[in-house]
Symmetry: C2
């Protein structure tokens, strides 16, 4: 699969075992490059040794820079420390940063790659479902600020994405489910047929095998198409944010404590809120809302604010986060709303009072 | 004057008093944008009030974020704090970061603009000679790492550059001289006629008036031409680094303490070293070396390692910095050398032993 971006086009290789060819695949594209592998401690423990063996066999020099697992590594201090470690390892401009992990590692490593020496080559080897279907493709990188998620970062496209679906065999159920929320998102935002396919094949996707590979490939293709059409998110790409304005506010509300909420769970609840809010505005029948809810709960995903353990902050705090979202401009709230399954659209100038009232009600349910 | 970069083209307005039209000029290009003005405490004291008055008159909302004056503000902690302050001020993607200061403020503010919300509009109002003729044009932004200068950053082009040469009237002599080293650089690297013009008009440039404006305009034009031809420094743009590989190593050697050495002084010494090293390699006559030295010393610029007050580190430390320079690739040293005045070229594979022996000798002179 290829992401078409002119001189910055790149390949995505998907399938069981593609990781084992990594050495050769990388050498062919970046001859003589040395690598700094940014990974998290969990992924390192499970998969790093085998991955390094492959690089050694291909004669690719590398250093490993592990960070603690979890969202809180997407922070300024970790970013700074990684930049300095890459410089200490004497990587040069022609060398590459490789992200070996989930979306956290990918976003963090991508921002490091964008910034060290004003831009180094970048390779993604995503190891979570979420990263394979979403975050590893498209070039968005970044870290979180106290003011909100992903508020500091860069657009920096990878030179190559290697999505080995066998790596997902060790992924905890909860993280697999979270990634599945992003898979469902592609159906809901623009491909009703894919959503129907998921309604039939969900269990196959969770079990692994051919259905899983197909779901990963279709999701990646959907993302690659949108990114190729709109690299810097001037228009259509914004649809990928379905569920994310609400979702990001919820992640901020739990202070990125992944024991309470991980990104994909926030997205699942956010998608439900976007559907319910759209229905409230009379945009789509309640029937569609029910169908989405049924599918997400069937997958074991949370769909209500009350599914988040612990106390949520008052509505003002949530509204504040929403107002800090990158999609806000000139004080106008922009949301991705839906006219039906597979029919998302960008709505500018959404009335903050309506959103507030809606959230207030949901907070008490 | 225009920098031709397709969709990212931008205007540079140069002259006495252009700052006073800033409000209108900015409104015309970025209607309704709010500004975060990043400046340093010295510039703020001298010029900020008048500048803000102009913005107020044009109805442009803005916040001011001053940082301490000097190179040491180009650091991770200051970068982080500025990013967070911009977010706290609730600037959105359509708003802009404005750099009001010298190269330090420009580099720092540019990296903030590149990173907050993955890229905000950026305006440069350079207030030093160096910034007006060099750093404000071309889109290189960044901060320093313990490992060396400008090692963390981004390419981020401004939407507008306003170079008000009247602002230079308050610039301390030492900083004016330092900026003048970059002016001389343009002549030495590719325009012998401009160097000859400077030999005749140097005093006029220092006094102010028409010669100064002309020197700023010719320098900007030279930079804009090179940048338009090679935005990301794949080739020709590297010539702008004449004197900078040595110069950066010297700045690192004094740990960026500007009491001992400022950037432009490092460049002046670096240019001399590049000429002397080239002469040593038999590339150009000693006569040319003498002519450059005469011009730089006449301008009150340092030209020898021993002109730097205090003790310099041993040659190993300097060689280490040189090896960390962004221009290094695959362990090969790349230098900008000269075949004569106005005839710089990129030399790859320079023998480290020759550089080392040369520096060792210079350290004892
Ligand atoms: N850049 C983008 O376009 C984009 C898109 C969507 C999400 N994101 C970001 O992605 C992040 C979420 O990504 P994520 O869900 O992958 O989180 P993650 O990277 O934290 O991974 C989830 C957990 O799974 C573990 N893990 C990873 N691979 C494993 C494996 N093969 N086996 C066992 N455990 C494994 C990790 O250690 C972690 O504990 C968020 O920060 C989100 O903002 C970015
Ligand atoms: N991005 C690029 O392409 C590029 C090119 C060349 C240099 N640089 C960077 O630029 C920096 C050096 O720039 P600089 O020499 O402008 O340093 P600077 O920004 O530190 O300014 C020098 C001093 O002059 C003061 N000052 C600024 N304007 C003044 C005014 N109008 N009146 C009185 N005082 C004033 C400042 O407070 C400071 O003390 C270095 O960090 C260098 O790496 C970047
Ligand atoms: Zn997401
Ligand atoms: Zn310079």
């Amino acid at each position: 699969m290829k992401v078409q971006l002119g001189a910055r086009s790149y390949d995505i290789l998907i399938g069981r075992g593609v990781m084992h060819g990594a050495g050769r695949t990388i050498s062919a594209r970046l001859p003589k490059a040395r690598l700094a592998i940014i990974t998290d401690e969990t992924v390192a423990r499970l998969h790093l040794e085998r991955f390094r063996d492959g690089l050694d066999a291909a004669g690719i020099g590398h250093v490993c820079l592990p960070v603690p697992a979890g969202e809180r590594s997407k922070s300024f201090p970790v970013f700074q420390s990684l930049c300095e470690q890459v410089l200490d390892a004497r990587l040069e401009r022609g060398d590459a940063i490789l992200a070996f992990g989930g979306g956290v590692v990918g976003d963090l490593a991508g921002f490091v790659a964008a910034s060290v020496r004003r831009g180094m080559s970048f390779i993604q080897v995503p190891t979570t479902l979420l990263a394979q279907v979403d975050s590893s493709v498209g070039g968005k990188t970044g870290i979180n600020a106290p003011q909100g998620k992903n508020l500091i970062g860069a657009f920096h496209q990878p030179a190559l994405v290697l999505a080995d679906t066998a790596l997902l065999d060790t992924l905890p159920d909860r993280d697999f489910r979270a990634g599945y929320a992003e898979v469902v998102k592609y159906g809901l935002l623009g491909d009703a047929a894919f959503f129907e396919w998921l309604e039939v094949n969900r269990q196959g996707v969770f079990r692994g095998g051919a259905e899983r590979d197909e779901a990963v490939a279709r999701s990646c293709q959907a993302k690659a198409d949108v990114v190729a059409a709109d690299e810097l998110e001037g228009g259509r790409r914004a649809l990928l944010n379905l569920g994310h304005t609400f979702g990001h506010a919820l992640e901020a509300a739990v202070d990125y404590h992944t024991e309470r909420l991980v990104h994909g769970e926030g997205v699942a609840i956010g998608i439900m809120l976007a559907f319910e809010f759209s229905a409230r505005l009379g945009l789509l029948p309640d029937l569609d809302v029910g169908r989405v809810k049924h599918h997400l709960t069937g997958a074991g995903l949370p769909t209500r604010l009350s599914d988040i353990p612990g106390q949520l902050p008052p509505v003002d705090v949530l509204m504040d986060s929403i107002a800090q979202d990158k999609k806000v401009s000139r004080g106008e709230l922009t949301f991705i709303l839906v006219r039906g399954i597979g029919q998302a659209f960008v709505e500018r100038g959404v009335d903050p009072a309506a959103v507030r009232a809606f959230l207030e009600e949901k907070l008490t349910q």
